[in-house]
Every structure is written in structure tokens, then in C-alpha cells.
């Protein structure tokens, strides 16, 4: 599992940098390195490309895990390296951007788009299998998530647009409910398809407002499971 990211175009980075001339670049040694979007190579390539514009790259670093807090000594070192820059470009998912922004008083800008939390299904191809809805239904649906894999997040079987096992939105996209049907059939649990699943409690998902979770039960917000 990793944060699936893609690079933003240079023009967009220049626009977000605005008047800031001196730029520091942060990469991430975890997901973006494995994805080839924000590792050592990509940081040096962005340094080069920015150098060809009127920006000046003051330095760069690839943090081992950009979304984790830095140990005290490393933090001090990081701050002194960044010192003098007018903005920071972070080549990581939004979590890394947030963690770096917490340390600095200058603009910390994303160089990547965070697409989804995904899995490498085949070499170089990543798929989303979980929308982090807060109330897992995989037990009812043969281990395939209808919220994530069905374009309409249906709960009671495929819509009328499922043809030849493909979704109506794109002949390359498998119908999530065809996948569920095939899996339940293989498991000998097709009777599950007959059950009418009632409306869902979306308050456990993003619809319930910004989510937090505490290991301390007393600190947990109401409704979280």
C-alpha cells in the first residue's frame, strides 16, 4: 500500500511559486521514490528544470519518510539547510507537504498530485481498492469494495450499464459488481447478492466532517468505529 502520486506540470509549479525566487526542494524516500515521482532522481531533475527558469534552487533533500516527524537533531539540520529559501516545493503526497509545512513559516507547496491510496496490481499499474469510508463492507461483497470499484458506489448490485463485464464509463474499467458477482460465485456465496443492503451511514466517511482518531477511547470523536 502506498500513496499514489503524479508530478504536477512545471508551469503549475512556477505559478504556485509566484514571486518566490529562492526555492528549496524536498523529496520523499518512501512512496514517491518507489513510484518514481519524488525520489533522488526526480528531485535532481526538478532542480535542473527549475534552474533553467528564473528560479534559484538553494538546496534539496530527500527525507526518508516525509510524512513522519523528524527527530530533534535532524529537524535542526533541516531548518538550517532550508534557511534563506523563500518557498519549499515538496515532492511527496499531501501528508509530506503537511508535515514539512508544520516546521516552516514560508510557503510549502505541493509538487505532486496525491491521487489515491493504492496497490501495485501489476508492474507500474496502481489501483485504488479502498476509499477509507470508515465502515468496511468487504465481508458482504466478496472482498471487493463497491464504494471504490463501482463508479456509482452502488450497494445492491450492478446498474444497467454493465456490459461484457465492463463499466459504462469506460470499456477499460471492469464493472465492480461483475467482479463482486464472480468472486461471490467462486466462493459459493451468491446468496449474498440477494440481500438488500440498507442506506449507508456516510457520517463515518468524509461526509461527517474532518476525521480524527485517537488511540485513547475517551478522546475519540462520537460515531467513529
Amino acid at each position: 500500500m502506498k500513496s499514489i502520486t503524479a508530478q504536477k506540470p512545471l508551469e503549475e509549479l512556477l505559478e504556485s511559486l509566484g514571486k518566490a525566487k529562492k526555492v528549496f526542494i524536498v523529496g520523499c524516500g518512501t512512496c514517491p521514490t518507489m513510484m518514481g515521482t519524488g525520489g533522488v532522481e526526480q528531485v535532481s531533475s526538478l532542480t535542473e528544470r527549475l534552474g533553467e527558469t528564473r528560479k534559484k534552487v538553494t538546496g534539496s533533500i530527500v527525507l526518508p519518510v516525509a510524512c513522519e516527524p523528524l527527530p530533534f537533531e535532524a529537524q535542526k539540520e533541516f531548518l538550517s539547510e532550508v534557511d534563506g529559501a523563500e518557498a519549499v516545493l515538496v515532492m511527496s503526497c499531501a501528508y509530506g507537504v503537511r508535515a514539512v509545512a508544520d516546521l516552516l513559516e514560508i510557503p510549502v507547496l505541493p509538487a505532486l498530485n496525491t491521487l489515491f491510496i493504492g496497490r501495485e496490481a501489476e508492474p507500474g499499474v496502481f489501483i485504488e481498492e479502498c476509499s477509507q469510508c470508515g465502515d468496511c463492507v468487504l465481508a458482504l461483497t466478496g472482498g471487493i469494495c463497491p464504494i471504490t470499484r463501482c463508479a456509482k458506489s452502488l450497494f445492491n448490485g450492478p446498474c444497467g450499464g454493465s456490459v461484457g463485464g465492463k463499466c459504462e464509463i469506460d470499456p477499460k474499467v471492469p464493472c465492480g459488481w461483475q467482479l463482486i458477482y464472480d468472486r461471490l460465485k467462486a466462493l459459493g456465496r451468491l446468496e449474498q447478492m440477494e440481500v438488500i443492503i440498507p442506506p449507508r451511514d456516510w457520517s463515518l466517511s468524509w461526509s461527517g466532517g474532518p476525521r480524527t482518531y485517537s488511540l485513547d477511547e475517551k478522546e475519540r470523536s462520537k460515531g467513529s468505529k
Partner: protein, 305 residues
């Protein structure tokens, strides 16, 4: 009687029902709805109004159905789960009742990707089966999804759709059964062109006794031109247009007449299939052909019940 609409009465009296679709304009003209309604007045028992079909913005189904009601027609309000959450859906159902609309067709809705605002955020808070069940609970138990009480009656004759041609084909009857269990009083199907496949599906429907619990109306889409037939065959999701149909239109001298003949043959065959209680004619953008089709199919005059 659940709602006492004309459609419900016609079906309950055992007549072969005819419903016809009225496409609303891409603007605020009540006149367009009224004139289409006047044109079709004596040719069908009830009139569906689509709800931002294929995700293209149009005059709302609720308002259009209110206009049809005002000129004395029995509307079938189509309602999608794509654009409204459960608050808005239930609010609009109450609004429909207030306007005297008594038939409601519950659908999932085409994905926004097909429409003229593909960047929209989709809603899909509940799905069509959950919507059917919600309407039934509002009507029969006087309760909203939340369990709170509805103030006053919700007399709605509940409709649903089914596509006998979609996949997995083996699941299609089971899916219909889910809709009927959830509360569907009538079903309007996707367009029927491949009659043998539809007949096979209807046999399964009757075998599981669903024809005794709901009224199935076979979907009919008249084909105006060769290009339209090819387009539906190749691009419209969920519609299965056989090659022979395209071929017949291609070879015809008078394409319009050949298209009507094909549709009349399909209606003739469909009338004989056990368990089919009517037809639903969706003459997309070609409503003026409906009176001719209904007349030549021998389905006039419509019953007065």
C-alpha cells in the same frame, strides 16, 4: 390502490398499458412541456419525464411533471440518485405529492461522464433499490429513512427500471426480484430490440412469480434513422441493437417507414409474451411519432378507468 393514478388503475384493471416519454427542454419553457403533453394526451395512459437524462442539464422532472399535472395528464416522475442526496430526494418526493404527482420512477442514473458537465461531483448517497425502499417506507409506514415521521400521506405508485440485456445476465432476474421486494409496483425496461433474449428473461421473471407482484412494461425506442441505430448499437450503454435491425434500415427505401414497421413488429411480439403488462415508448426527441405508432399498433383508444 396505492396512489390511485391513471397508470395504476389501467394496470390494475388488466389493460395493456402504454406510457410515453416526454423529454424536457434545455431551458425554462413550460410551453414545450404543455405542447408535447397536448400532442400525446390521448395516446398513452401516463407520461414519463426524464431527470437530467444522460447527465445533460434540462428543465427539472419535478417541475415538468407539475406542468403536466396542471393540464390534466398523469405524469411519471423520473428520479435519479446521481444528483441528490437522501435529504433532497425525500424532500422532492414530498414536493411531488404536493403537486399531485402520483407515479415515481426510481433510477440510479447515467454517470456524469456522459453529460455536458462531466466535471460534476456525483452524489450516489443511496442507490436505486434503497430509494425504492425509502419511498415504500414513506408511503406504507409514514416514515423517512431516518425513522422520523412523515406528516401526512405519500400516495405514490412506485416504479423501477430493469435492463434485461445488462451483465451479469444470470443476475438480472435476481436484481428485479430485489427491486420488487424493495417495493417496485411497476417496471419499465430498457429498449427491447432482441425479442428472443427479452422473452427468455421474461420466462425467468414469470417462473419466479415476479409477474404476479409487479407490472412489467417493455421499453420501446423508435428508430428514426440508420445513424441513430448504429449510434445506439455502438455507443449507448445498456442498449443492445442487433445487426439485422441496422441492416434492414440500411436497405430500406423509406427509412422512417421501415423504422416504424420494425417497432410495430416488436410491439406485436412483445404483446404476446406472458407477463408483459404494457409498453413504455421512449421516442427520444421524436415524440410526434408516438400517436402514429400507438394507433397502428391497435392500442387506441386508451381505456378510461
Amino acid at each position: 390502490m396505492k396512489a390511485g393514478t391513471n397508470l395504476e388503475k389501467v394496470l390494475n384493471a388488466g389493460y395493456f398499458a402504454v406510457t410515453a416519454e416526454i423529454g424536457p427542454p434545455k431551458g425554462g419553457s413550460a410551453r414545450v412541456i404543455e405542447s408535447k403533453g397536448e400532442m400525446l394526451r390521448h395516446t398513452a395512459d401516463a407520461f414519463n419525464v426524464t431527470d437530467n437524462q444522460t447527465a445533460v442539464v434540462r428543465l427539472s422532472s419535478l417541475a415538468a411533471c407539475g406542468i403536466l399535472r396542471r393540464i390534466g395528464l398523469d405524469p411519471v416522475m423520473q428520479m435519479l440518485c446521481r444528483d441528490r442526496n437522501r435529504i433532497m430526494l425525500q424532500g422532492d418526493i414530498c414536493g411531488a405529492v404536493a403537486l399531485g404527482i402520483g407515479n415515481l420512477l426510481c433510477l440510479t442514473g447515467d454517470h456524469v461522464k456522459f453529460g455536458n458537465h462531466p466535471q460534476s461531483k456525483v452524489v450516489f448517497d443511496i442507490d436505486s433499490i434503497q430509494l425504492i425502499s425509502a419511498v415504500r417506507t414513506m408511503r406504507d409506514e409514514g416514515k423517512f429513512i431516518s425513522g422520523e415521521e412523515v406528516a401526512g400521506p405519500i400516495p405514490i405508485f412506485i416504479g423501477a427500471v430493469e435492463n434485461p440485456y445488462a451483465d451479469p445476465f444470470e443476475f438480472r432476474t435476481a436484481r428485479l426480484s430485489k427491486k420488487v421486494r424493495a417495493g417496485a409496483d411497476f417496471i419499465q425496461t430498457q429498449a427491447v430490440y432482441d425479442v428472443p433474449k427479452f422473452t427468455q428473461w421474461m420466462a425467468e421473471v414469470c417462473e419466479s412469480g415476479l409477474d404476479k407482484q409487479t407490472h412489467v412494461l417493455a421499453g420501446i425506442i423508435p428508430v428514426k434513422a440508420v445513424g441513430m441505430a448504429r449510434y445506439m448499437r455502438d455507443y449507448v450503454s445498456g442498449v443492445e441493437v442487433p445487426d439485422w435491425l441496422v441492416k434492414r434500415l440500411e436497405d430500406a427505401k423509406d427509412v422512417r417507414e421501415e423504422g416504424i414497421k420494425i417497432i410495430l413488429e416488436i410491439i406485436e411480439e412483445v404483446k404476446l409474451i406472458p407477463g408483459v403488462h404494457g409498453i413504455h415508448i421512449q421516442a427520444v426527441g421524436w415524440e410526434e411519432v408516438v400517436p402514429e405508432i400507438v394507433e397502428r399498433a391497435g392500442l387506441l383508444p386508451r381505456p378510461i378507468v
